[in-house]
Structures are given as C-alpha cells and as structure tokens.
C-alpha cells in the first residue's frame, strides 16, 4: 500500500526523516520503497488549459494546441490522441529538464513553431504510462507548478504489507508500529460526532442471518448531506495512496478506511429500498448488478447485504448500482461491518474482484474498530458534507470475537532466537504493540483484536524479535549438526556426466520441462503426457515425457540462429503418469548436429554421424564406470526407422539412441541431420561396475597380428569380432577394427575389414608358433562362420 510520509508524521509526531522511517519500518517487517521526486525535474512544468486544437498542416498524426497558462498562450505541437479542448494539462515550458535529462526547447517541427510539450506520465517520470497526456481536474488553477499540484514534495512510502499483517494496511496501524519503534506515546482516538436528537434506530434496523459470515454489522444514518468534491487535503492524501477522489461522501469512506483499515460503505438511504438491513447468503439462481454495471450470477458462496427483499450490495466486495451515492443523494446509510475473512475471499474470487475492501477483509479487519470507524466517518460527513448525524449506532454484534489469550514462556524467546532478552524488554515491546500482560513467571498475554495473526507463543516471539531487531541478534559462530552426512551417487553422477560431456565439447542446456501438446504427441505418441490444467500458453500445455523433446527445441533454436554445429546435453526429469504420484525418472539427453570438429587448416571437419554419437556414449560409459555400451537395433519413436537403437550395457538397457526421425525434424523446423541419445540415470547407476580393483600391469611383451578379410556387406564388424573373441582363447588381449574398405577390386556385394589383434600371456613371453596357431584358428573360424576370405 502507498501512504504519504506526512500523514504518518502527523499522527505520530515522530522526528524521523522519511528515509529513516522507511528504513525502520523495513527492518521491523514492513518493507517497501520510498517514492520521491526531484523538484528540479519539474521546474518550468506548470498547469495550462488547452484552448484551441488544430491539425498540423504538414503532419497527419500531429496537432497544434494553444495552451493558456493564464498569463500567456503557448503554441505547442501535440501527438496525443486523448488531447481535447478544455483540458487542464501539464505543460513543460522551454527551460524545463524532464527527469533531469530531457531538455525542452523552442523548436520548429515540420514548419510549425512549438514552444513546449504537453506531458504524459512517463515523460514526467511518474510512471511508465505513455497512453496519452495527463489531464487534471477541471477545477485545477492555471499556471501552478505541477510538482505542487501533484503534491510530489511529500515522499510516499510504497509498502509491501505481508498477508499476516492486515493491521498495517492503514495509517493508524503503521503509526502504532512507528510509536513502538521510536518509543513514543500516541493517541489514535478521535472526537465522537455531534448527534442530532433523532434516533438512527427509527430509520434502520439490522438483522444478521449468518453470524459466522458476518459477526458484526453497525449502521449510522447521516441526513441532509450535500454532495460535492472533498477538500483538497483529503484528495491529495487519497491520490498519494493511489485512490481516485470521487465525491465527499465516497472519499470520506475511503479516507477512513485508509486511516483505520475498516472498509465502509455509504448507501443512498432513500434508494436502499427498506428500513431494514438483512445480511444473508445469496441463493443459487440469484443475480446482482454491481456498481460498475456488471451483472453477476450469484449463489450461496456469496454473502449479500439486502433490504429484506432485494440484494443491495455484495458484502465486503462491492456495492450495487441501484443504491450508489449519486450527486442528488441527500441521506446516507453508513455501513461499518465485520465479515469473515474466508467468506469474503470466496465471494470475491467468485465475483472476480479484488477491491480495497475485499483485500482488507480477507486478511482480517479489527472487529473492535467497527464503531470507531463509523463514528469517524460520520463526524467527517458532518464536517465536510454538512450532514446531520442521527443519534446512536445501530450495532448488531451477532457473534462476539474475543481477544486471544496466549501464554509466553520468556525463556523460549532465548531458546528460539539465541539471544537473552530480559523480561522487562519483552514486556515493553509487547505492551507497546497493544498487548496486555500479566503473570510473574509465564506471561499471560491478551492480544488486541487488530492482530488476528497472533494466536500462539511463537507469534509473540516473532513480535519480540522484529521489534528488538533481527540485526541485534548475534550471529552463531559454530557449525552445528550431525558429523556424518552421506554423499549419494545419484548426486555425484551428475557432476561426472557434466565434466565428461563438457570435455567432449557438449554444452549444457536447460529445458523448461514443459512441452507443446501437438509436438510432444508427434514425438512420443505412445505415452499420454501429464496435462497442465492452467498453462500460460499452448507451448507449456504438457509435461515432457521424453528428453528428446527439449533437445530438439534447443537444437532448432540454435540451427535457426545459424549456430549450426550443435553439441548439447541436459540432465533432467521427464514426467510419466503413475498411480497417485507421477514417476519422474531423470535422464541425460544428448544431441549432435552439424560438423564433427571445427574448421582446421590441415583437414576439413566432416558431417557428424552415428559414430560420433557412439564415441560419446563409449566415453560416457568409460567415464562413469559402466564399462562398455552397445547399440542394438530397436524401434523407438522419435528416431529414424532405419537408425533407432537401444543402448545396452551388459544385460541392462540404459536408454535409446539414434538418428532423429526426419519427419520430426521438419516439425521442429530443423533442416539438418541430428543424432541424439537419452540415457536413464538410475539405470546407469545400476549398471556401474562398483568397486575399482587394481590389475597388475603385464610383465611379458605382446605380439600383434593383423587380419584383413573380405566378407558379404551384410556381415557386421560386431559379428566378426564376436567370432574372433570366441576363438582367441586366453591369449587374445584385444581386437580393434582399423579399416573398412569397399570398391576397388572388391566385388560390389562385398567389403573388406581389417582387424588388429594383440596377443599376450600373463605368465610368459609368447612364442611365435603359439600365436600363429591361435591366429590360424581365428581365420578358420571366420571362414566357416561368415565365408570370410583373407584379403591378398
């Protein structure tokens, strides 16, 4: 809420500057900013009246305004669509320096002289609003400094009042805080209105049908008011608080609300429709038109003010069109009531409003302040609108709200805060906040009704802490807690993967976790995603079921922005339906596209392919300690039907990999091949080899033999490797493919593969004939298994 410094200063008489006030409030729990303006930024900005408005002869969108400041008429070019003859506007004259930077000079624009500028709010630095020029009330005098007209000399505290502190939503409540912080006495009581001899109870009675929803309803009658503008001081305060002045009666209601926090409602008594206020819930099928002219379907969730027959207002949210105070209103029925917080919250949610009144009611207004607020408003109506206040308040207190009683063990203060605060200090703080305290050991504390948030001991400790000052609590110096806190592999494997993949040249991306329904289902038609019931937009309608979705979104962004060589990974969750709680398995997703390597003068980079992806997967497997992985043909949606694989580690499938489906690439607007993999973290952990055990280094030399063979093209290196290993016996140490060749003198349906075989024994130097024997056995086996033929 916004409140001018001068108002709080006036109530409390505190000697603090505005800065000190803001700082002290902020350090005791009422945070916010001080809004203030530099008078130099408003020099030569005065009020003027538009007396003539003509089209600019040489520009369609501009007009030439004659602005009268009372002393002189200035010719000013104006582009604002809302400018009209007769408006009183802020006029920046030559010499003005708006916001301290924008200097106003005499100038000629397309052949027409302009001697100033009519300003919008943003040009004056008041807000970001540039929708049109500012327009003042018709009664504003001319040639007045705009700085004064807007009351900008008075700093305004823009406060963020937390939802637990409804009492701080008003001047009196804030004054109470300031009085405790500054240790000064204040008196918030106001003079009671002078009453006439006629009794209000002869004019109105109040009946409450639902005492839980409306514990208290007080009414006053003020007769013979004269509707007109409220005085300037009141208008300025309302404006500073962000409330638009309307007329004296409405303004008084708002002013007293800003002063006391009690929302008030003024009905036109003669249009109320009866002499009886009945507070009851609406019935299903009822309708009601609020004072903004909107018709609402209402039901029993909505508490209404009725005249016994018809609905007149929604309780605590907004009045009705038919009973609104108008210029010809003479007699006022003033409502000051207490409504239940959650009833009003439900009402206003259903009606779709968040009004100053409902905002306060749903946070909790002081039931003990109902009468004082009615009296204060009635006194002001007599003073400022010439009204006659009838005798008595018609007060129906259907369900008395008692003051809360809370016990406080003073030693708990130290136990929770870690600082010794003596009993007297605790007592003084709480008493200053309006609590009554008795008891010698344990404090019995009676809490004022304006503090609905204080119901427990800990709430009182918080009061002590915030007034004592959190900065005055000494910082703990020792590290406390359990000596042993375990490290979990699920946490460290992410770091391992990040290091490995960064080393391989992959950049780490971060998907949103959301997915666009249509694209998500195209990618993964077999899983029904979890739907967001209130998404921000269609792009965020589902939770992702596959990492590949986010990988493709990111690849698409990069490729469209000409970052053509994409190596990205993300470690994140996908979301899958499962009984009452979804499953959220974590994956490491990779995507590759563009060139392998970067431009280099010795050799040119080549297009990425499945083997770069396989290399990365092998590296990951080695790095995290799951040994080796293999790709096994397996159809998975999202991958091309000719190149879709599962990633297998021993007997476990740890994920999928392959070339991204061509049709899918089109959907994601990607115009180059992409290769991707999705590895499930939990499966990788499960596949880990566990403890690393040292193996002694070989003591004896190895022998190397190469084999080059020609086989059918359909025979894979994997098949051949398997045969080689099976026949290599104990002495075969490793097998590596080092060449694949087609063409030349090799027939069309054949290919040549070359393997390098290393033989070694752990207990002796191998003799040539031993190696040759095994080598021959391998060759024979290749010949019989796959009709392999040695290449000459």
């Amino acid at each position: 809420m916004k409140i001018p410094y001068s108002w709080l200063q006036e109530i409390t008489g505190v000697s603090w500057s505005a800065d000190v006030m803001m700082d002290r409030l902020s350090r005791s729990g009422t945070g916010g900013n001080l809004e203030r303006y530099d008078p130099a930024h408003f020099a030569n900005v005065v009020t003027g009246k538009i007396v003539k408005l003509e089209p600019h002869p040489n520009a369609d969108k501009l007009r030439v305004a004659q602005v009268d400041t009372g002393k002189k008429t200035w010719s000013v070019i104006c582009g604002a669509p809302n400018a009209e003859v007769g408006q009183i506007v802020p006029l920046a004259l030559p010499g003005a320096k708006l916001k301290g930077e924008f200097e106003i000079k005499e100038m000629t624009m397309r052949g027409v002289q302009s001697s100033g500028m009519i300003c919008a709010e943003d040009e004056l630095g008041l807000s970001d609003d540039h929708s049109g020029i500012m327009v003042f009330d018709d009664s504003t005098p001319l040639n007045q400094p705009v700085f004064d007209v807007l009351g900008l000399g008075d700093p305004v505290l823009d406060l963020e009042v937390t939802p637990n502190r409804p009492d701080s939503l008003c001047a009196n409540g804030l004054a109470r805080e300031i009085s405790v912080l500054a240790d000064i006495q204040i008196d918030l009581t106001k003079d009671a209105p002078k009453e006439s001899s006629e009794k209000a109870s002869d004019y109105i009675s109040v009946k409450i049908d639902d005492a839980d929803a409306c514990p208290r309803y007080a009414a006053r009658i003020i007769r013979n008011v004269k509707i007109g503008p409220s005085p300037e001081w009141m208008q300025k305060r309302l404006t500073a608080c962000g409330v638009r002045p309307i007329n004296n009666i409405v303004d008084i209601g708002n002013y007293v609300m800003l002063e006391t926090n009690q929302p008030l409602h003024a009905f036109d008594y003669d249009r109320f429709g009866s002499k009886e206020v009945v507070v009851r819930r609406a019935k299903k099928g009822d309708t009601f038109t609020t004072l903004d002219g909107k018709k609402h379907d209402i039901d029993s969730d909505i508490l209404m003010i009725t005249n016994g027959k018809q609905h007149v207002a929604t309780a605590g949210v907004m009045g009705g069109l038919d009973s609104e105070v108008e210029d010809d209103t003479v007699n006022i029925l003033l409502e000051s009531a207490h409504f239940n917080a959650s009833v009003i919250r439900k009402s206003r949610n259903k009606l779709g409003y968040n009004t100053e009144a409902s905002f306060r009611f749903e946070r909790g207004v002081d039931p003990g302040g109902v009468i004082a607020a009615a009296d204060r408003a009635a006194a002001l109506m007599a003073e400022l609108a010439g009204g006659e206040v009838l005798a008595g308040v018609v007060d129906t207190y259907a369900k008395k709200i008692e003051k809360a009683k809370v016990t406080l063990r003073p030693e708990r203060v130290c136990k929770l805060l870690g600082v010794e605060i003596d009993r007297e200090t605790i007592k003084k703080i709480l008493t200053g906040l309006g609590m009554e305290i008795s008891g010698d050991g344990v404090f019995a504390v009676t809490v004022p009704t304006w503090r609905p948030d204080i119901t427990r001991e800990v709430d009182l400790i918080e009061e002590v802490a915030r007034i004592y000052g959190l900065d005055n609590i000494p910082n703990g110096k020792n590290n406390k807690g359990p000596l042993y806190t375990p490290t979990h592999r699920r946490d460290t494997i992410r770091a391992d993967l990040r290091n490995i993949l960064n080393g391989f040249g992959f950049d780490e991306m971060m998907g949103t976790g959301f997915a666009k329904p249509k694209m998500m289902l195209l990618l993964e038609p077999s899983i029904e995603p979890i739907k967001v019931t209130n998404p921000i937009s269609d792009d965020f309608g589902y939770m992702r079921t596959r990492m590949l979705y986010s990988m493709l979104i990111a690849a698409s962004h990069n490729i469209r922005h000409r970052n053509l060589d994409v190596r990205l990974f993300e470690i994140g969750k996908v979301y899958l339906r499962h009984e009452d709680m979804p499953l959220e398995p974590e994956y490491c997703g990779l995507i590759l596209s563009g060139k392998t390597g970067e431009m280099f003068w010795k050799d040119a980079p080549v297009d990425t392919d499945l083997f770069e992806l396989k290399g990365a997967l092998d590296g990951i497997a080695d790095g995290v300690g799951i040994g080796t992985v293999e790709l096994v043909l397996d159809k998975k949606s999202g991958y091309d039907s000719s190149g879709s694989y599962k990633v297998v580690c021993g007997d476990k499938t740890i994920g999928w990999a392959g070339k991204v489906d061509r049709k899918l690439l089109k959907t994601f607007d990607i115009k180059q091949d992409c290769y991707a993999a999705e590895l499930q973290i939990a499966e990788m952990i499960r596949a880990e080899k566990g403890v690393v055990l040292f193996e002694s280094l070989p003591k004896f030399p190895s022998s190397t033999r190469d084999i080059a063979i020609i086989v059918d093209k359909s025979v894979t290196s994997g098949m051949l490797k398997k045969v080689i290993i099976e026949n290599g016996g104990d002495i075969l140490d490793s097998v590596t493919v080092f060449d694949v060749f087609t063409g030349g003198n090799i027939s069309e349906d054949k290919k040549s593969l070359a393997f390098s075989l290393i033989f070694r024994s752990s207990d002796k130097t191998l003799a040539d004939n031993e190696v040759d024997a095994v080598h021959q056995r391998i060759i024979k086996a290749l010949e019989t298994s796959y009709q392999a033929r040695l290449r000459e």
Partner: protein
C-alpha cells in the same frame, strides 16, 4: 718465451677459440691447428725429448692433460652444434592449433553446484523431492491453510489428478522429516514452477535451493551465522547482511535477507538499483505447525530453514539482464560460462 709460457698461451687461446666456434667445420680446423700432425700442441709434445728431465716432467704432464681436455672440449662442442637445428623460416608456427572443442556449463547448474557445495561443506546432506507435488507437501503441511491469501503470492500451476507443480522446494522439509529423526540437516536443490507473467525478470520455471536444520538447540542466531558464512563464500568475505522481518507461513519468525551489493560494496550502483543492498533469500525458524505435521514435538526441537532462487543469483553474478536467456539454450550464450 719458455715452453711453459708457450703452453699457457696455447691453452688460453685454444679454450677461447673453441668456445666461440660456431660451426662443426670451424672446430675441425681448430682441432687440426692444435692437435693435428703439425698442430701447435703436437709440436710441443714432440719437442719434449729435447728438454731436461725436470722440464720434461713438468711440461709433459701439463701438455698431456691439456691435450686430453681440448680433445673432449672440441668433441662436446661438435655434438652440441650438431644438435642445434637451424630455424626453418618456412615453418609457420603461428598457424592455429588443432581445435579441441570444450563444452560449457549452464550458468544455472554452475551456480546451483556452487551453492550446494558450500552447504555440503558445512555438513548439509542433499535430498530432493518431486517436481509434481501434492498440495499437502507444497502448502498444507507448510501451514498454508486452504483458502489463505498467502497462497495467492505463489501463482500455482495445477496438473491433472489434483496435483500441482511445486512452487518452492520447501515441500522437501516435511517429506524428509517424515523419513528421519532429528538431527536433520539438509540442502534440497530443485526445479520449481510459478504461473506468472513471463518477462525479463520472471520465468515460469526456475530453480531453488532449500536448506534446513532441525535439532534440539537451533536458534535464529545459528541461522544468521550460517547464512553469513554462505554469503561470504558466494559473494565475498566481509559483506554485511541485513535481516528484514517478513512473512512465510512455514517459518516464524521469518526474514528476508539482503546482502550488501557485492559490486559496489554498498555505495549504490545499477546492479543494486542504487540501494546498496541486494535481496538474496528468505529464511526463518521452522513454524511449530510444520513440526506438528511432520510428527516432531515443537517443544523438543527447533530448526531453521532458508530458500533462495538460483536463477536470480546467476543473473546477479553474471549480470544477465534477461532471465529468459537461461532457457533459450543459445550456444553463443552458454559458451560464455565455465
């Protein structure tokens, strides 16, 4: 000149000439000049027989010693010169090296790891909770009554099945309390969601780190100490903290913490919007209602909790002016971080 004097002259002259020789050929010429058949030293050695027995002994010893030295010296120098390969002016060593592509860390996980690491070193154990959460853990058990205005401050995404996307990582508190007995000292990083208008300062997804410690004697002073140590390491030693009382349903007392601007040291600059302070986290003493929900006795244990947003810290730290960049995944952006 005596023979000795002659020998001394040859010795110093030969030593100088050998050490200043630049080529193998030069050295060979020197060898011949001194040690060759007609070499100066050779002549002296040949003339020994004409000397007296005493002179023979003195000169002979020295000359032979010197001969051996000079031979070694010339040989060593020849080897040294042979190893020196002349610079080839045609070899362009300024050509770029073979590129090794290094990938880059995402600023979000970088900052998250840094923050979590600091708390791990202080003895916090990592725990996590689900992103798709029950109302109970996200709100109710954290003392957000149904239909309370405090829920408005956390615009919530709902999903089917009566679940929601967690709005903070604080839900991990009750989940862990249910599984453990005090002392419990946990740091819980994770992804959270808020249904609010997306702009340069807000995104519908971000990350938080929630920390909490419950034991028999945990005080607000302990909380202040831990957060001070944390901020020293994250932002710089000696920076002041400001604790402003605030409101969170699940802590009482609650506070928001500002750290003195680490860029200007509190003098005021664009980063801190000329305030000198930067709001960094929310914290407080765990509310007794939360302990009750978890089955802990609030008279027996106390505890603190704190939470901070990772993206906010990342934006401050790297002066990123638009939070949306963090989720656009442009490699030109990511490559700036390490």
């Amino acid at each position: 000149m005596t023979v000795i004097e002659q020998l001394q002259r040859i010795e110093s002259e030969a030593t100088d000439r050998v050490s200043s020789a630049k080529t193998v050929e030069e050295l060979e010429a020197l060898r011949i000049a001194y040690l060759g058949k007609k070499g100066e030293l050779t002549s002296i050695l040949r003339g020994l027989k004409e000397l007296s027995a005493d002179e023979k002994r003195e000169v002979g010893g020295k000359a032979n010693q010197f001969k051996a030295d000079l031979e070694t010296r010339i040989k060593d120098k020849k080897e040294q010169l042979a190893d020196e390969v002349a610079i080839d002016p045609a070899f362009d060593y300024t050509l770029p090296g073979r590129p090794i592509r290094i990938g880059h860390r995402n600023p979000v996980t970088l900052v998250m790891d840094q923050i979590v690491g600091i708390f791990q070193r202080m003895g916090f154990e990592i725990a996590t909770g689900p992103d798709i959460e029950k109302d109970y853990y996200n709100f109710e058990a954290l003392n957000f009554p149904p239909d309370h205005p405090a829920r408005d401050e956390q615009d919530t995404f709902y999903v089917e099945g009566g679940l929601l996307l967690r709005t903070h990582t604080s839900g991990v508190q009750v989940r862990e309390f249910e599984k453990r007995k005090p002392p419990v000292k946990i740091i819980a990083p994770g992804r959270v969601f808020r249904n609010e208008a997306v702009d340069a300062g807000h995104f519908c997804v971000f990350h938080q780190v929630e920390g909490f410690y419950v034991d028999t004697e945990v005080t607000f002073g302990d909380l202040k100490g831990v957060l001070e140590a944390f901020c020293y390491e994250l932002f710089g030693e000696g920076l002041k903290l400001k604790f402003r009382p605030s409101f969170f349903p699940f802590t009482e007392p609650s506070a928001e913490v500002d750290v003195q601007c680490f860029l200007c040291g509190g003098k005021g600059c664009p980063l801190c919007k000329y305030e000198g302070w930067i709001e960094i986290l929310g914290c407080g003493m765990i509310d007794p209602e939360v302990f009750k929900a978890a089955g802990y006795n609030p008279d027996e244990v106390t505890g603190y909790a704190f939470g901070l947003g990772i993206e906010r810290v990342a934006c401050l730290k790297y002066r990123i002016n638009d939070i949306r960049l963090l989720y656009e995944n442009d490699t030109r952006f990511i490559k700036q971080f390490r």
